[in-house]
Subunit: 219 residues, 4 copies
Amino acid sequence: MGLATYRKSVSETKRAAILKAAREIFLRDGYSRAAMAEIAREADVSTATLYKHFDSKETLFAAVVQDAYRETDTSMFVDIAGKSARTVLKNIAALYADQQFDGQMNDLLRVVIAEVPSAPDLAREVYRNSVLKRYGHLQTTVEALVARGDLRPHDASASVRHLAGMVKEFVVWPGLFALGFARPGNMDAKIDACIDAYLKIYGTRPLESAPSQEDKIGT
Amino acid sequence: MGLATYRKSVSETKRAAILKAAREIFLRDGYSRAAMAEIAREADVSTATLYKHFDSKETLFAAVVQDAYRETDTSMFVDIAGKSARTVLKNIAALYADQQFDGQMNDLLRVVIAEVPSAPDLAREVYRNSVLKRYGHLQTTVEALVARGDLRPHDASASVRHLAGMVKEFVVWPGLFALGFARPGNMDAKIDACIDAYLKIYGTRPLESAPSQEDKIGT
Amino acid sequence: MGLATYRKSVSETKRAAILKAAREIFLRDGYSRAAMAEIAREADVSTATLYKHFDSKETLFAAVVQDAYRETDTSMFVDIAGKSARTVLKNIAALYADQQFDGQMNDLLRVVIAEVPSAPDLAREVYRNSVLKRYGHLQTTVEALVARGDLRPHDASASVRHLAGMVKEFVVWPGLFALGFARPGNMDAKIDACIDAYLKIYGTRPLESAPSQEDKIGT
Amino acid sequence: MGLATYRKSVSETKRAAILKAAREIFLRDGYSRAAMAEIAREADVSTATLYKHFDSKETLFAAVVQDAYRETDTSMFVDIAGKSARTVLKNIAALYADQQFDGQMNDLLRVVIAEVPSAPDLAREVYRNSVLKRYGHLQTTVEALVARGDLRPHDASASVRHLAGMVKEFVVWPGLFALGFARPGNMDAKIDACIDAYLKIYGTRPLESAPSQEDKIGT
DNA sequence: CATGAATGAGTATTCATTCAT
DNA sequence: AATGAATGAATACTCATTCAT
């Protein structure tokens, strides 16, 4: 049994190494240009071993994507107790931005989008499990804020998408068009401005602790 | 000269046929999977003729993209005279949506995004000439509405991106994750909701002719 | 008839332009890499016109070669009257060297040799009409020198090849291995040394006007 | 390790088969006309395997050339002890002729020369490692003969090239102009005549064991 | 169980030659 | 007679996947 355990752990190690290498290569080269042989070399395993773990290039890619989203998707629940609506929303947005930038989510998203014609199921799954699931979390939070009286009653399912759309405009969209798009210095101010806009519509208080954001916003 | 004219017209015809076929194949298969031979066959020319017109696969793809954007980018100026802010913004949004859906812009965008690692210049150019240029047009219009007193004075360069972000969330974003994403039936209502949100923040009048949109919005 | 003459002269002009362009391109790129389209462009004619004059690439190449050799092969007769054997042989060798270097003969030779597998007849013809014919001329001259008593009686058909072999070693051989091999500064001294060696064997006089060549020769 | 050894031997076998096939095809068709697919077929491997062993057509060709010269270049040292100058030189010349004819060196040389425009480095290397190196060996031998008193003191670096030039005239030169030029029956007599000429200039003894070569020489 | 050599189908690109005007 | 656009066959090279050891 000790042997079996040992073997299993070795196997798991290799699997992790393959996933790491594959992520790197897929992100750098895109799906089509990524070569299985290079992934194997980078992971320091033989191609045969690679195929022992993942049936095909497609399977491997799907695993890379799942793996990347597994790290992120649960972490967006926040405790609203003792925090203003603004603070809560800012925290969530900051978390989201962190994930996009630090986890190379934009690069990954780009590859997933690229493979829509040949892997439509994967893209749909990513959309559901990542995009829509986040909206769900956000909506739950927003509804809690409404219940607490920090936000006016409204259709939260629509408002969260408005908010998300505004934030993505700065956090995701430019990253789709450039490799390695990094967090600009004024990112926080831009996100603040989105939340301000949101609170102007749905907030119950005049403009709680509103920073004079208008002068900070430029391009 | 008759000969030259004849040849030119034949050549133009073939060029157009190639572009059409290339667009179709690129949109269907993505860049990497698209085969020059198939494009040639679809355009009913030989591969050599194809290469007479376009130096390489990359060049051809760039031409397809330019071609697609040429059809759209000039058409977003609207006359605001005699129209309410809401009407003006709705018209622009509708125009944008039309372009995205009818011109297969989402599919094209996906392919451009896919090629960021290998054709970063093309992507940057698309981002500039298409995305940013549209924001410029929209900003001009918004500033005119401000000048007319329909909107409150504000940083229009930021607000147009907020508006665009909200609209894209419904018009573009889902289209990146699915082949042939078509305009959903409730698209107009969703766009209306975005504009309502925008006018709630920047509008000068209470809520001019506001439709009760909230009950129409679901998923 | 005036018209016919005009046309003919135009045609001849074009033919000459094609030959000139073809020679240039063939010498620069070799046979296989030379492109008919580029030759036509360089000659400022259409490809169709090119094919009107020369049936095929092979035909054109053969014509280029014939043309090149036509300019040179008749000019090696020299008048021995009033000149020493040394002077006569030096003149001939100098003439030969001039032809090889100025007429780009080495480059041409290289292309002919390259095409032996696909154009054996052409190579054989070049060998006969150029190499062997020159030997014939040289032999005639040598026999005249023998008759005059400047050289000892011997098998001139063999001796001329020995002389030619020695000279080629310096004049032709290195040129086959390098593009654009130019006449080195010490070429004359090297040729003199070959002729000295020749005269040591076949000369009748001790060493008529022998320059102390040994110190000049190095590599 | 048994596995590694096995694989290595299989790999070496394939590599050798590829080199053999490539040599054959290159010699037969020349560089440009030779097709990698045909070489692979002839070697009974897939094209991919071929490319595993040799990065490109150029690399393969260079390897073929190196391989051919590796077989020959070390073998030209001869022991002069107890042999007359004539015998020594004859042995060397015979060795050289054997290499040229048996090793298909003339055919190979032709292909190398053909590729001068596109692979100048390879040609230069062949010239240095093969042509010039041989001259060096020959010069060493000649200087030993001078030291022993069999040849008169002279500039050996020049004289060996004269000798080589004379021999090449018969052994190499015609072979460049015809595919599969084989050793003619009178080759030995022709080579003898070259050595006779050489000894007439540089030999110290009247004409040791001189065969009456003059009647044997024709064309 | 791991290996890495071998596969063969697939692709972008070139070029000698023809033909409708 | 001259044009130059069009052809289609040919070719170097790549890569996901398999299999004998």
